[in-house]
Symmetry: C2
Subunit: 124 residues, 2 copies
């Protein structure tokens, strides 16, 4: 049968809020080994995304606050979305992970190309 996002998503991921410092966000990535941190406000509603690439941008361009480097228009996935649909979003946007949200934009978890690579089929 067909697997969906809910079969592969990573739950219990660290979340930050808009007034987190760039250094604190970097520390959270190092402590968890992750490269993507959803930015949320009350009751885990998604407002943005910070990745290790954005922290590199802060270094490259001397940015001082998280809001200067945060991506606001986040490409997300839903729990019942197909793998084929998520893979297409990764390809067309040059991104490596998508926050998974419910119908109220509350963060449920993350689906990444690291996890999806584990489904790679070498027969083609």
């Amino acid at each position: 049968s067909k697997i969906t996002v809910s079969d592969v998503l990573q739950r219990d991921i660290p979340l930050i809020n808009k007034d987190t410092s760039i250094q604190k966000a970097a520390e959270k990535m190092i402590n968890t080994g992750l490269t993507h941190l959803p930015v949320v406000e009350d009751s885990n509603k998604l407002v943005g995304l910070i990745t290790a690439w954005d922290i590199s941008k802060a270094v490259a361009e001397n940015h001082e606050s998280l809001e200067e480097i945060m991506t606001e228009k986040v490409i997300t996935a839903s729990e019942n979305e197909s793998i084929r649909s998520v893979v297409a979003k990764i390809r067309s946007n040059n991104i490596s992970a998508l926050p998974v949200v419910d119908e109220k934009d509350k963060v449920i978890g993350l689906v990444s190309s690291d996890i999806l690579s584990q489904l790679a089929d070498e027969k083609h």
Copy 2:
């Protein structure tokens, strides 16, 4: 038929050397949209790897030179390696990409979970 690393690897990737500054390495990631930079010496021989996560580490822990944050024991792939073997290396080491090298450790390209996610099979 079975595809191998040589069918999916990304060639012509940016390379840096050990005396590149952390800021210059970050700038190269921003200019190319990439998150992995192999570190090489004469004739592109691999000596290390810098990722956007390492740049985040420099921010989290106030490191000043590339050599402080560079990974030296790099997990690599060869051109004729199977997809199944590369996928296992990604899973067991929590990494997102592997430099592809020849028998003299010269960098030929990069194979990433972003590329391998495009081979994901949703029937399981």
